[in-house]
Symmetry: C2
Subunit: 425 residues, 2 copies
């Protein structure tokens, strides 16, 4: 065992009893262990008593590079909104995790290609956080931040950089909040921070810029189409879900195909889309109630969860099993009478499926027929996440009180894929 | 408009003002509308006032065909357990939905190929229901029904026919309940009832028989590998999920590959598996508590849901976002202090991801590090559904009280895929 004199962020090569090992030192929770990150990305703990010696390969430097950002003549103008997330973060030498970039110049310095494609006419940071910490207040604030960019005729399109965790919920919210959208609103992200070799941020942001310059007036999510770093998909904001915790192509279109394939220098649309019209006006309608909940049903679940939500909530979205089921009258603890009771008292109960893909159908099995009779609203092929956001939006409009079912079943923003046939029994 | 004289189940050809249309009459909720199922599988409603005439193509008959079932010499013996579901159902002419087959002979008469492959030495019907109505009582009853078949050395393997809705929860439960499994236990299903041309039941059941005759002592789910009617996959009971509400290849392996490709006449294993040994004994351990719940987190969700469950429950599995997050200290309503409080009071809090694919990781972002510090158990690549069942199983063992975390992180039945690398940050 040797005396050790290093700091977090240093790159060391250790001589161990049997092998040599090289990596970046991280903050260690245990004084007897040196925690290092290998170039493979793995962390490994070395007992200090096993370390025979080491050499410092590179001292950690906290100095930041500074790149000057100039407006370039002749480039089209966009609006850029930074909200945080991994795309606005870098690896922390201290923890081996990632931490937010605090400076806009530093953010842009990581993305020089973007500034060769567009001029950023307007840059806003309404808040900065990882997206698991967001709630409807942030969706509303974001819509309000986008509004002046939609009104500005010089701005071709808007890019929003955002954490991945709840990006699909935000995409759905913006899809409902922006009424008569007149230009592209493009959400993008990264799964690996920009200072990592495997980062997906740069391609995503360039493709987002390409989509923002397109003629599609849609809320789109743009990111890696596959694990390769070659092109992106643009996905409709109401039909997209994060389907992998770490892959670069985490976002998948659900019950539909991609809206477009996007490269940094071109975009190929694969579906019909609404055409851009910068001369028309978009309205922002952020009426929303938080008194909505999402319940994923599991076998044997007690229906008393409905009693809990009915006390304070206006509506629930149930992720049922299969074609949209909960425990029916054949089971030991039927949900049907409890659902019926609460619907009679004014609770709105919407049904989606936990299978992710496919659509619910109340006409095949008796359980769902009973749920339909009780007043449940079966939401076809709508995603549970989109359904939750839509329910908060619909119930937030007091003027729609008499038409909740009609509104939930109306295709407000592409949340239903009407071209898909209803699955034959 | 003509006078109409038909009954549900009749096949009629209608003459309408502009077109002819042929289909099977269904029970209609509206007296003014004739509801028919077209051969495409779609239902359509015809206003009686638009019907100019019709002819009856085929009268509905309730007569059932009867096939005699003989034991054939020299065929290997299996155990068969029927629990209901679509695989034991047929289309109801009355509702256009499906209804259970009530007679075992009728069930077997639909599957003549099975009886050319195996002799059914033991046939049990412990209960008969669509699987959305099942709860842990049924998993326990099922394990108890399987036990004598595992003990019977003449029986090569066991087939369980089961509804699809919660089949993956049952598969996980049996994986944990059967200790030292000595022969194949094969769960199978269908997504379309057997009397439909598009039924997947026959191929699934034949492939299930082939898997039951294999040398793998595993709890497996066997069903269509694709929408084609050519071969099936055998999928590990703890790593499988229903991923489509209606497709025939609804079940997908999650965070692993298929265990085997299965045809009616052969099986090709694709992963390591436990070898069959009919001379060893399997034990059934059905200790289980229902006082466990699954919570799918959504943005802005109030942590008071934890107060609700902590009152009566011993443990919860949270489907967090991304790498396993809930709202952290950066958000408006952090879950961290509430989680900490309830864990201190004895609630077990396990973390999985709502992304379905990938694994949770508490070392990348501060929110998850805070959750880990609060005492959350991060369940790697385990499915939320499997995690819920495992938590009920682990907490059902009072002797394991001091080792809940160790047991939850021990690979009891293939619920972790150890070969998968931890995703580098």
């Amino acid at each position: 065992m040797v005396d050790v004199d290093y700091k977090p962020g240093d790159v060391l090569r250790f001589r161990l009893a049997l092998e040599e090992m090289e990596g970046t030192v991280l903050e260690s929770p245990d004084n007897e262990i040196v925690l290092i990150k290998l170039s493979s990305g793995y962390n490994i703990g070395l007992k200090k008593e096993n370390i025979l010696g080491y050499e410092i390969i590179k001292k950690y430097s906290t100095q930041q590079k500074h790149v000057e950002i100039k407006q370039k003549e002749g480039l089209p103008k966009i609006g850029l909104i930074i909200t945080g997330g991994t795309i606005a973060s870098k690896a922390s030498q201290a923890t081996g995790g990632v931490k937010p970039i605090t400076d806009v110049n530093e953010f842009l310095s990581f993305y020089p290609e973007l500034l060769n494609m567009v001029n950023i006419k307007s840059l806003e940071i309404p808040f900065k956080m990882f997206s698991e910490n967001m709630s409807s207040e942030h969706w509303i604030k974001l819509a309000q931040t986008i509004k002046p960019m939609l009104d500005d005729k010089e701005i071709e399109g808007v890019i929003v950089s955002h954490g991945t965790d709840t990006l699909h919920y935000t995409a759905a919210a913006l899809s409902f909040f922006i009424n008569g959208i007149n230009k592209p609103v493009v959400l993008t992200y990264s799964q690996r921070s920009i200072d990592r070799a495997s980062s997906d941020a740069n391609l995503n942001l360039q493709c987002a810029a390409r989509a923002a310059l397109s003629d599609a007036a849609e809320v789109m999510l743009v990111g890696h189409a596959s694990i390769n770093d070659d092109y992106c998909f643009a996905l409709r904001g109401t039909k997209v879900k994060k389907m992998h915790s770490s892959r670069r192509d985490a976002f998948k279109p659900i019950n539909t195909g991609p809206l477009a394939k996007v490269w940094p220098n071109r975009i190929e649309f694969m579906q019909k889309y609404k055409k851009k019209d910068v001369n028309s006006m978009s309205e922002i309608d952020t009426a929303y109630t938080d008194k909505v909940a999402l319940i994923k049903y599991y076998p044997g679940q007690s229906p008393d969860i409905l009693d809990f939500y009915a006390l304070k909530y206006k509506g629930v979205v149930i992720e049922g099993t299969g074609l949209g089921h909960v425990q029916g009258n054949e089971g030991l603890q039927s949900w049907i009478p409890i659902i019926k009771k609460h619907i009679r008292s004014g609770l709105v109960v919407c049904i989606t499926s936990q299978t992710t893909f496919g659509r619910v159908d109340p006409y095949v099995y008796s359980t769902a027929r009973d749920m339909l009779d009780a007043g449940c609203i079966f939401l076809e092929d709508m995603l549970p996440e989109t359904a939750l956001v839509k329910l908060g939006f619909v119930l937030g409009h007091y003027g729609w009180k008499k038409y909740v079912k009609e509104k939930m079943l109306e295709n407000l923003s592409g949340e239903f894929q009407p071209e898909l046939p209803i699955n034959p029994v």
